[in-house]
């Protein structure tokens, strides 16, 4: 993998079935909404050796009409929502700040956990993101520094600390340590953690 400029990573690995599922999902949702993938899958994409049951997405807030088109397109392409039976229910969950989960029809895991980015700190992902170019499509992921800071200073479980360490080691020469400190401070201010 290599950086092409500041914000694009070219990834030439053979894609696994999870990558292919994420790309399939993204190709549908990006027609309707702006998204950024956050958390564990970012580490997995770059080689972390662990399983996961979900892939986390932040999306920008949208109206019911747009959500309805998105929901119908997902259904048409073999996805179902685990939480709710209708577009209106899905939309009301998202408006309440609750994540909704989509999986391949009839399956529970792996699923795509989708949430409106509401807090100011979460909305930052739409400006501070990276584009990953793979052989079968493009993915938008949160910046590596944001990823490390949230895993290390907000989530903090052994699994999250390992995820952060993996990303930091793989991109050793590319990580901006000052930017990690900046996010650490923001997390402290917004969530009172560190």
């Amino acid at each position: 993998m290599k950086f092409v400029g500041e914000r694009i990573i070219k990834l030439d690995k053979p894609l696994n079935v999870l990558d292919k599922l994420v790309l399939k999902f993204v190709k549908i949702i990006e027609k309707y909404i702006d998204y950024v993938i956050i958390s564990g899958y970012v580490s997995l994409l770059f080689g972390r050796t662990r399983g996961t049951e979900d892939v986390d997405f932040f999306i920008r807030e949208i109206d019911l009409e747009t959500l309805t088109k998105l929901y119908q397109d997902l259904k048409k392409n073999g996805f179902w929502c685990l939480n709710a039976e209708s577009n209106v229910e899905v939309y009301s969950y998202l408006k309440e700040g609750i994540a909704v989960r989509f999986a391949e029809k009839g399956k529970v895991i792996p699923n795509m956990e989708v949430k409106f980015a509401r807090k100011r700190l979460n909305q930052d992902v739409f400006t501070d993101y990276l584009t990953v170019e793979t052989a079968e499509g493009v993915l938008k992921i949160s910046s590596l520094e944001r990823q490390i800071a949230f895993k290390r200073f907000f989530l903090g479980s052994p699994k999250d600390l390992e995820d952060a360490q993996h990303v930091e080691e793989v991109f050793k020469d590319k990580i901006n340590k000052e930017k990690i400190k900046y996010y650490k401070e923001l997390i402290k201010r917004e969530y009172g953690k560190t």
Partner: protein, 68 residues
């Protein structure tokens, strides 16, 4: 490849492996690490096909709201 350091406890052993593997990823081609990684993730995903819980049971386990 350099030696994998054992850990004094499980936590340290796990973190040592994370560093060891990440170092391999950084210093090999995407094809080299990717082949091993893809085989590993694909086998996990194959096991996921046998997940025994329904969506309601899964969401209940996670303490999440659902109306389905």
């Amino acid at each position: 490849m350099e030696k994998l350091n054992p850990g004094r406890d499980n936590e340290e052993a796990r973190m040592n492996f994370v560093k060891y593997w990440a170092n391999f990823v950084r210093n090999s081609t995407d094809q080299e690490w990717g082949e091993q990684h893809t085989a590993f993730i694909n086998s996990i995903m194959q096991n996921a096909n046998h997940y025994p819980f329904s969506s309601q049971e899964y969401l209940k386990l996670k303490g999440e709201k659902h109306t389905r």
